[in-house]
Amino acid sequence: MATATLHLPAGEITVDAAFREEVARLSGQPLELCFQCQKCASGCYPTQEGDYTPNEIMRLIQYGARDAVLRSRTIWLCTSCETCGLRCPNGIRIAEVMDTLKQMAAARGIAPVGETGPLFHNLFLCEIRAVGRVHETMLMLKYKLKTGNLFADMKLGWQLFRRGKLPLVPRLKKDPAVRRIFERAGGQG
């Protein structure tokens, strides 16, 4: 597939038309319809600290800017709240697009420096694979241990524990049906 270099204010990016087609196919969304009205961005609070707004992500996909998009912070800030998709005049479900981008980035092990979203999701899925359910206490502890950030939120953890909201005894039963789903899905965890 043809590649070229595009000069943007943000710098030079390599474009790759195959990327646009891949995202369109995997997300099932009519990406080509986006006409940059920015309605998606105007209602999107979660990604306001990101490097691109949702409409900019859409445009970068149209350009075929694989690397810029898959390495962006914005995709990991998207909470799939569906506000954008509800309002897009062209019926593009942007949350589906963001999911596809996360899946592609996760499959390639790409993440921006310091982004712990993929680690969190991976630990979450490990919990499901191990015992069929997510034990919230274990998930929080493992995340804190892995990020070396054990002391942040310590007070909160204690407050939750005291109120009986972080039970310590996990359910240790394996669930063969869940294991099989992971095998068929070729899933992480």
Binding site: G85, F120, A177, I181, G186
Partner: protein, 283 residues
Amino acid sequence: MQYSYYPGCSLEATGVEYNLSTRAVAGALGLELVELPGWTCCGSSSAHAVNKDLALGLAAHNIALAQEQGRDLVVPCSACYTRLCKADHEMRHDPAEKARAERLAGFSYTGKIQIYSFLEIVKDRVGCDEVARAVRKPLTGLKVACYYGCLLVRPPEVRPFDRAEDPTSLDELAAALGAEPVPWCYKTTCCGAGLSLTRPEVVEQLVARLLAAAREAGADALVTACPLCQNNLEMRRPAQEGIPVFYFTELMGLAFGLEEAPGWLKKHLVDPFPLLQRFSLAG
């Protein structure tokens, strides 16, 4: 009326009072909730971010379990509800997705059972009139901002039980309990709960904005239908902010005069008792 009941992982830990209050209120309304045997995690916010097949497979597995029981499924958690409904919608309307789900979860989809949020059951199956008749201690004077969160009513084609931009079901229910729902613009604005562990500094801004808007609208408290929202709004609130956040089922329990209600409220991070005492609702 009998339903299968899918509590989900949060309702066994951080959302335990939602679980207890849902079961108690259902009992008071004559609804029988039978916990779905062998239920597993729906995949929640992580599976769909990493692996499309896992997201569909994990949700479909629970629909398969519910199908075996032959009863409609009631789901209190908005996050579980949305994942299960989405999978059900895909299987119902897209033969290719149905085949994919059947392969992943090893079952045969019949489409015979329906999935409901508990709010939907209360509002549409029981009805606000019936709820009002069960009220012993009306929540008179209590001004509440009804916070639906982003997941409960979206996407609209998946479960159109309420309006996606300006839903009203919680407001109507609060009014049936004698409370006063205040108009405000942040009913469905995302609180960022999914980022609560990974990006707390971002989430604090989202929560501060929501709580300030509820205050500005004159609310004494917020009402939610989601364990992720309830916990996030309390955990990531600004240090000086102490507005209580209730589950709608807790308000129902209070208004019905259920004696277990204070036990649920003691589990909150923000102590709601001073507010309730002001309205003579604490005891």
